[in-house]
Amino acid sequence: MFQLSNEAKQKIQFELKRYESKQSAVLPALYIGQKENKGHISPDVIKELSKVMNIPEAQINEVFTFYTMYNKNKIGKYHIQVCRTLSCMLNGAEELTAHLCKELDVKLNEVTADGRFTVSEVECLGSCGTAPMMQIGNKYYENLNPEAAMNLLRGMK
């Protein structure tokens, strides 16, 4: 059964008081829960958040499923999100994604056998002038080509 750490609970308590309405803490709390659960949100996480926040599970669940940055499934240690929208597509995003999946021997949205990588395609990340690009964790990697991107990944342990 998933349980939030005391530190996470304290952070959630802070968020509950931070905004004009308590419900506004749901988005930040989901981030906290996701981080504690190694990058994805399982039904257990929703249950625990509901208990800690005293907000019904359904009200948290509908928010969780609406937004793309909350992961529904397990992800690798490094979550590679390649932007697929028009400006990136015009600059070779499809080739970039295909190359990463081939080299890492993994299908989209699945985890590599060693648990290190997940490759996903995402919609416009607002980095169109430096296309193609990808986001790994919170960080942007821009002006890529397939080989340069693979070299970056090789350096990630």
């Binding site: 004009e20 803490a25 937004y67 940055m69 395609e121 002038g129």
Partner: protein, 446 residues
């Protein structure tokens, strides 16, 4: 400030008018000390001594129009607030998600205090004691920059109680989105800030009457709020000398796609699109030619090459040409690209981003995505071209927010202006430009 000049070699204008972005090249402009060295927070001091109504009047007189996409008069929007002492909120829309747009991100990363100062002045004008900057969740660097700047601003007494001895109190905070294009729609953003699904709300009531937590709320784009500082500094009359009569001021344009020198460029409104492409954009690589331009973010109808050479970057001219200035995101497409593939890419985007509450949009974007990908896979039927237009026509003006129209308009313009490519694809089962079909259905599930 720089003036325009004509480069002999290229015959195209290449100089920016760096009004907002004058000091963006200085790394120290990001911090409070560097920002103050360049006159930072002096306009706040000036504004706090003005009657709030005078600030609103100045913004109205400046002709400033919303820089996020809709282009609505900022002063007029503020004027819709009730004339009483009811608490009201100011929200900064930093949920930059319109494909092709990356100017707000640059502004927040390079000059967070510029936005904060513009927001405090705006909040003082509309008598708001609390504001939020709603930043899209992926913009980690922007959020870090803003949070650090907010701390500095509080410490220096620009935020909090009795700002600079004026008696005006104001608190500001950052709210992180979680990945949803629809939260860039102002009522969708309000829903999200309330901790709910980011679904737009039916208007009226407009946010100025009933917004965040049912209180009067003003939502303005990052660039719009930053401009307010400069209108206070230089006055409305000066601001109107930049740009055209009806489209006042400068604007940051995000240039991307098949272009030699992509990036953000600040120019006065009314600037020629061809100068943007061949001047500062440096034209095309590898002897490619101009084929099409999406001039205002992916929701703006596409222009063909001839139209692009004539267009000027202002609200009126682009509207006259059947497109729009939108967020100022210019996506350039060269002649090696397949327009069917470009449209299918965008339809996947809108299908993914539809919030699902209105049937014409939820179902319509799904159909547009599937039909365009069916053509792209080589399995399109001749009647699919008319079907695309019919579905798009049924989506216009029939929903709570503009996302449905934003998906429909590109379809109509792509199919109408590049019909030969669509017809070739359904007749031959392959792209007229690339000579092959593509993988069909989009991969990611919804």
């Amino acid at each position: 400030m720089q003036t325009l000049d004509l480069t002999e070699e290229t015959k195209y204008l290449t100089k920016e008018t760096k009004y907002l972005s004058e000091f963006y090249h200085l790394p120290e402009f990001k911090g409070l000390a560097g920002y103050k060295n360049k006159g930072g927070y002096q306009d706040l001091e000036k504004a706090l001594k003005m009657p709030p109504q005078a600030i609103i009047d100045e913004v109205k007189a400046s002709g400033l129009r919303g820089r996020g996409g809709a282009g609505f008069s900022t002063g007029m929007k503020w004027g819709f607030l009730p004339k009483n002492n009811e608490p009201r909120y100011l929200l900064c829309n930093a949920d930059e998600g319109e494909p092709g747009t990356f100017k707000d991100r640059m502004m927040m990363e390079k000059a967070p205090h510029q936005l904060i100062e513009g927001m405090i002045i705006s909040a003082f004008a509309i008598n708001s004691k609390k504001s939020y900057i709603y930043v899209r969740g992926e913009y980690d660097e922007s959020i870090d920059a803003l949070e650090a700047a907010l701390q500095e601003a509080y410490k220096a007494g620009y935020l909090g109680k009795n700002i600079l001895g004026s008696g005006f109190d104001h608190d500001m905070d950052v709210y992180r989105g979680a990945g949803a294009y629809i939260c860039g729609e102002e009522t969708g953003m309000i829903s999200s800030l309330e901790g709910l699904k980011g679904q737009p709300k039916l208007k009226p009531p407009f946010p100025a009457i009933q917004g965040y937590l049912k209180k009067p709320t003003i939502v303005n784009n990052v660039e719009t709020l930053a401009v307010v500082k400069y209108i206070i500094r230089d006055g409305a009359a000066h601001y109107r000398t930049l740009g055209t009569e009806k489209s006042a001021g400068t604007k940051l344009f995000s240039l991307s796609g098949n272009i030699a020198k992509p990036g953000n460029y600040e120019v006065p409104l009314g600037y020629a699109l061809k100068d943007m492409i061949y001047g500062m954009g440096g034209g095309f690589k590898n002897n490619k030619q101009l084929k099409a331009v999406i001039p205002g973010g992916s929701s703006a109808p596409v222009l063909n090459a001839a139209e692009s050479m004539k267009a000027t970057l202002d609200y009126e001219n682009l509207a006259q040409m059947g497109s729009m200035l939108g967020s100022g995101a210019i996506i350039v497409i060269d002649d090696s690209q397949c327009m069917v593939q470009c449209l299918a890419n965008l339809m996947h985007f809108y299908h993914h981003e539809s919030c699902g509450q209105c049937t014409p949009c939820r179902e319509g974007t799904g159909w547009l995505d599937k039909i365009s990908h069916s053509i792209l896979s080589g399995h399109g039927r001749r009647q699919d071209i008319e079907l695309l237009l019919k579905v798009a026509d049924n989506m216009k003006g029939k929903t709570i927010c503009a996302l449905s129209d934003a998906a429909a308009l590109p379809v109509i313009s792509f199919v109408t202006k590049f019909r030969d490519e669509f017809e070739y694809f359904v007749n031959e089962g392959k792209s007229k430009v690339k000579g092959t079909a593509f993988k069909g259905a989009p991969h990611a599930s919804h």
